[in-house]
């Protein structure tokens, strides 16, 4: 398997595209800052979220039992899957028993982690991904490259070509509005015909036995309400104790992800509608092992907002595929080694350890500390020879290429963007516990020039 450094090298071959990827995600990160700064209680919210998750993880067994009891009372069917294989088998069984052939799925990183689509395809069952970005990459037989923006590695002409081939749109029409409308017509047909809808779960509430799914497009709702069977797949760490805690997480999630004040739809599913079946699949797949590791258990608090991706100078310039895993970015770099520390030995090295990820994380995961701890762990396990050598070389290659950049004002902006930790650590100690805002251009320039001379 190719490692991060090699894959990153392939990604940055097309340098205008790499620049576009970098700048676009940096722009998303800016929108996140603006949204966060609009709330004076932002740091308090992060602290509450972190404490709620800590509490939930430390009482997970009893909350899971409470959740199951309530969900059963609500009329849902609850399944437990020890690993990916069992998760896929459970879903396959529901499909087979009900004689289903038309299936739609909204975004779920868990089903990516379990490679559900491949599993079902091998059995001759087609699943239509309905998130626009996911449908685009599905047509192209590619995995998502970002957990919130699945097709962020593609340009509109790529989408246009793909849609021309699969949806017979006009050749060369690159208008996002036109292309989105074509997808709308195509997918509305799929929704209306759907017999079974699979969704992920953003939050599961122990006290009510319900699950919450967040989308902007409305695709989860179109599928689940049209179909006679809804399957919601969740990692067991999605559990939170009470409905009122949703307020904390819904305030943080979209602001951290895209800078929106909330996603368009935050749908709360409790009971199946008359004549419908609601199945909830609770999955472990290595999570209980992570829970038992004091250094790494915090990674289970993740709400998959991708703020750490967008702020990461390495992710922005190496792309999602360089992480060769279903969850990329800084969080992927600490989650994946839990599953296979040898296969993912390179990932903890795909970081500058600048700490910006930890500073933007809405649930306060100590991401960069865990990256550091993973490096030590991997060294201990003896996988370091490969990982470190290529990993560090790759980092240097991705980051230290000022030749790729314009000079002058642009260059300064590049330093800020690429090494946000410089600001964090030296310019303004007040920001130590926070992400780095972009300082006024002039003062930064002064500061930078001064520091250059030293």
């Amino acid at each position: 398997m190719k490692d991060h450094a090699t894959l990153a090298k392939e990604f940055i071959k097309d340098s205008p595209r790499t620049d576009w990827h970098d700048e676009t995600l940096w722009f998303v990160r800016h929108k996140r800052d603006k949204a966060a700064h609009s709330l004076p209680e932002w740091e308090q919210l992060r602290e509450w979220a972190s404490q709620i998750k800590n509490h939930a993880l430390s009482n997970l067994d009893s909350y899971l039992e409470e959740f199951e009891k309530k969900a059963l009372e609500n009329g849902a069917v609850v399944h437990w899957a020890a690993d990916a294989e069992e998760h896929n088998q459970i879903i396959h069984k529901i499909i087979k028993e009900n004689g289903i052939s038309r299936i739609v799925k909204s975004k779920s990183m868990l089903t990516e982690e379990c490679h559900l689509n491949h599993y079902l395809e091998a059995k001759g069952i087609e699943v239509v991904d309905t998130d626009l970005g996911e449908r685009i990459v599905q047509f192209r037989k590619e995995p998502p490259s970002h957990i919130v923006l699945p097709a962020i590695h593609l340009k509109k002409m790529d989408v246009s070509e793909t849609f021309h081939e699969h949806l017979h749109t006009e050749k060369g029409n690159n208008d996002p509005k036109y292309l989105t409308h074509a997808a709308r017509l195509h997918l509305r047909e799929k929704f209306i015909a759907a017999e079974l809808a699979i969704t992920g779960v953003n939050f599961a509430v122990a006290e009510t036995g319900g699950v919450v799914v967040c989308t902007n497009e409305g695709n989860a709702d179109m599928g689940t309400h049209a179909a006679k069977i809804h399957i919601a797949s969740m990692g067991f760490e999605k559990l939170i104790p009470k409905a009122e805690h949703l307020a904390v997480f819904l305030r943080l999630l979209a602001r951290s992800a895209t800078g929106q004040p909330i996603t368009t739809y935050s749908s709360h599913f409790h009971k199946p509608k008359p004549g419908q079946q609601l199945h909830i699949v609770i999955v472990d797949n290595g999570r209980s092992r992570i829970l038992g590791k004091p250094d790494f258990k915090n990674s289970l608090k993740c709400i998959r907002c991708a703020a750490c991706f967008n702020t990461c100078p390495v992710y922005r310039r190496s792309g999602g595929y360089s992480y060769h895993a279903s969850v990329a970015g800084p969080i992927g770099s600490i989650l994946n080694p839990n599953f296979d520390s040898k296969a993912f030995a390179d990932l903890p090295f795909a970081s500058s350890l600048c700490g910006s990820c930890s500073n933007v994380c809405p649930v306060k995961i100590d991401i960069h500390d865990q990256l550091w701890k993973w490096r030590q762990e991997i060294t201990r396990q003896g996988h370091v020879a490969v990982a470190k050598k290529v990993g560090l070389k790759g980092m240097a290659f991705v980051l230290a290429r000022p030749g790729l950049y314009r000079f002058g004002g642009k260059m300064l902006r590049w330093v800020l963007k690429t090494m946000p930790f410089m600001i964090n650590n030296r310019l303004n100690p007040w920001y130590k516990q926070r992400e780095m805002p972009s300082p006024p251009k002039q003062s930064f320039r002064d500061w930078y020039l001064k520091n250059q001379k030293r």
Binding site: E41, W80, T130, K156, L246, L250, R251, H270, P272, L291
Partner: protein, 190 residues
């Protein structure tokens, strides 16, 4: 041993020492001088349109005017087709406009809670080409914390916060309104 028992016993063995839940002090969060003005401002930034009407009578007039040029209007405020809960997605796909009422509107983010009872048919607010949500001025609250105090999420089988029209930016980050669901959302405050 069943997978359930396996998972639960693995968790029991590996879970960290119990930590306390935080006390969420709502008095410590943001406040706005004018809830309606704040709600309107945010709704407009997320692609919605806000119509303010003074009294219930005027609200009804506005809804009636909207419905007069709409083919398949569904008005849950007055009488609606009793068969509506059972109408299939296929038939509802051609609904041009749905008018429903909401329970509570949130000033900080422009979201409105709509319960299953208010939707009448679960798919209606998601499948209609245009959506109007009617809300009483007194039901606008400051933040999501306040909203959850006013609703019972499990009261009906389904409920959702709806904030603006359906949207996507999955093609080169260009915002397009009307991904799968309504391409327009109007909120009438009375």
């Amino acid at each position: 041993m069943s997978s359930k028992d396996k998972i639960l016993s693995a968790i029991k063995e590996s879970k960290p020492a119990s930590t306390a839940l935080p006390v969420i002090d709502i008095s410590a969060v943001i406040s706005f001088d004018d809830l309606k003005a704040q709600f309107k401002k945010v709704l407009e930034t997320i692609g919605g349109v806000c119509i303010e009407s003074v009294g219930k009578g005027e609200m009804e007039k506005i809804v009636a005017a909207e419905l007069s040029y709409v083919q398949n209007g569904v008005n849950t405020l007055g009488a609606y087709d009793e068969g509506l809960p059972l109408i299939s997605a296929e038939d509802l796909a051609s609904v041009d406009l749905a008018v429903i009422s909401g329970t509570v509107a949130v000033a900080e983010n422009g979201a409105i809670w709509v319960s299953e009872t208010q939707m009448v048919n679960r798919i209606l607010p998601f499948i209609a080409q245009q959506l109007i949500i009617v809300i009483e001025k007194k039901d606008i609250v400051t933040t999501m914390h306040h909203a959850y105090q006013k609703i019972d999420v499990a009261e009906t089988g389904f409920g959702a916060f709806i904030a603006g029209p359906s949207k996507t930016a999955d093609i080169e980050q260009s915002l397009v309104i009307g991904a799968h669901g309504p391409a327009g959302l109007k909120v009438i405050i009375y």
